[in-house]
Amino acid sequence: MITETLVLSARALKKWIRNPAAVVPGLVTSIFYIVLFGSSFNPTSLFTSGLVGSSIPPAIIAQIQATITQQAFGGAPTYITYLTAGVICLILVFNMAFGGIDLVLDRQLGFLNTLLTAPIPRAAIFLSGVVQNLVKAMFLALLTFLIALAIPNGLELPSGFGVVDFVGVFLAFALLGLGLSSVFTAIALSVRSIDSLVAIVNFLTLPLIFMSNALFPSTSFPEWLRAIADVNPISKANEAARLLIVNGTLSSSQLSTFTGDILYLLGFVVVFGLIGYLAARKALSAE
């Protein structure tokens, strides 16, 4: 089963790498997310550009700004530092969701049928879908991280940030990606046309993102929305990654939050991996 999964994933990735039209827009989108979100959504700029015409002394404005950044952004030195983890979560969600298009095309063009008539475990077909989407999305996640680091006034990592922290950040992203990939691969294998995939995926992605703390701190949400956001795996991955990105070395209470998030994400992967597999097996059974 592992061999078949690898063979199939390698095929998909080879196609992906060889087709610049599929890779380049992904790169550009990553840059857009970081640069545009970073510039347009930046609430701290309200203060740095000065509250024109107000009579509040600048010292007090600076104090307000410091308090807000501390409370809302967990002490991140720049807005993009705060935002990077959220944007990467967003990129993961969108890439998992729309990565399924390749799988629908495989079905429509008959490739899936050639797999189904071959002696391949059905699980390998599902797993290869999960793996190919995960690899593509993680590549873009890594790239987004590097872009955020590179741009001026961008991602500023704390002084103690080391390899272990980096691995921790991407562990959180990878677990989120694995769970999401299982869900969206199962959906892609279950639908018969790209139209229905896009409809379902659009219906799911926006609430998934906005009912999480990816873009705004959930502390500012109304209670009902916060309740949802707090159980959203996107929030957990974002929280875990953001803790490391902003703080580097974690205090013991931060460490327990981080560990809790990772365990939660592990549970998410197991439960949704299983549900996804069962749904995919049904979708791949004889008609």
Binding site: Q108, T117, A118, I120
Partner: protein, 353 residues
């Protein structure tokens, strides 16, 4: 495939059954497929294909050919009846069937972004053939289908005919016991089509490969298949060797066009020995008879004696087209419109790649 909880003697019993049925590569009994409880795509058909035989399923689009192939290939469940392929029951042992078959689908499934050889190696690996064995077979097959020169090129640069040939090779790379071909020459020009027939014929003669194919090209069935079954609306109308089937529709057809004349020669032609049927349209007579060669002098002499001139004379040996017309009540050509529809669809699919 391991079936849990199966008593050990079952496998022994199965091997014995396989021994008995060894010469039968495909067996179908009352095979039926009903989609969504309503549409009866295949309706209680029974047939068998022997080892080393090329068996053709002939019928218009929508007759149930592809559905039958899908059931035999484990892609579609069987609503009623049973089928076995290479000794494996299709419903109970789909894994065994998948191990034994090669499938060349109607669609072109090779990857545009991969090279010809890469597509072949992928097909090999997915059938558990790897390393040097895979490479050797891939090269052999590329030679067989004349794609050696194009092996290192991406499939996106291939013509329609080259894609079909590659597809054929992809279905053979694991040396299956039975090869399923679903419309192997759909949309090809006549030269390329004949090339495909050559390859398939060669595989059958030289390697004894059993082939189950569907087609709606009568010439294809005629030139390739040892036996054919004509299927229409999910039912097998007639089956046998092409020669047998043609015999049944009653021999040759002689067509005579006479110069303008008020004399009706229908009765005279009917009187000629062995003539079974005469139809007249304008001045054109269609005369059915077992062997034109014998009766031709009598007919020509008779016409001249009546003082009529012959404008044109021709005769045709029976074709499967006539057989088809006879058993289904419609000509294969009536289906031309739907064929062009499916061509358009194929074209759209290729554009989607």
């Amino acid at each position: 495939m391991i079936t849990r909880g199966e008593p050990p003697f079952y496998s022994l019993a199965r091997s014995l059954c396989q021994l008995v049925n060894m010469t039968k590569m495909i067996e179908a009994e009352n095979l039926t497929k009903v989609y969504k409880g309503k549409v009866k795509a295949v309706d209680h058909i029974s047939f068998s294909v022997e080892e080393g035989e090329v068996f053709g399923f002939l019928g218009p689009n929508g007759a149930g050919k592809t559905t039958t192939i899908k059931m035999l290939n484990t892609l579609a469940t069987i609503t009623e009846g049973r089928a076995s392929v290479a000794g494996h029951d299709v419903s109970r042992d789909p894994g065994g069937v998948r191990d034994s078959i090669g499938v060349v689908p109607q669609e072109l499934t090779a990857d545009d972004e991969l090279k010809g050889i890469e597509n072949l190696m992928l097909a090999a690996r997915l059938h558990h053939v790897s390393g040097s064995a895979a490479r050797q077979r891939a090269e052999e097959l590329l030679k067989l289908v004349d794609l050696e020169q194009a092996a290192q090129r991406k499939v996106r640069t291939y013509s329609g005919g080259m894609r079909r040939r590659l597809q054929l090779a992809m279905g053979l790379v694991h040396m299956p016991k039975v090869l399923f071909l679903d419309e192997p020459t759909l949309g090809l020009d006549i030269q390329t089509r004949e090339k495909m027939w050559d390859y398939i014929g060669k595989l059958n003669r030289e390697r004894g490969l059993t082939v189950f194919m569907t087609t709606h090209y009568l010439e294809e069935a005629d030139s390739l298949c040892r036996r054919v079954a004509i299927i229409d609306k999910g039912v097998i109308k007639i089956s046998g060797s092409p020669a047998e089937l043609k015999q049944r529709v009653g021999g040759d057809v002689l067509t005579l066009e006479l110069a303008e004349s008020s004399i009706d020669l229908t009765d005279f032609f009917r009187g000629v020995q062995d003539v079974s049927e005469v139809t007249k349209t304008g001045q054109v007579y269609r005369i059915k008879l077992p062997r034109t060669e014998k009766a031709l002098p009598i007919i020509v002499e008779g016409v001249l004696k009546k003082g009529t001139q012959i404008k044109e004379i021709s005769f045709t040996k029976p074709t499967l087209d006539q057989v088809f017309l006879e058993v289904t009540g419609k000509s294969m050509r009536d289906e031309d419109a739907s064929e062009s529809d499916s061509m358009v669809q194929n074209f759209m699919m290729e554009r989607a790649r």
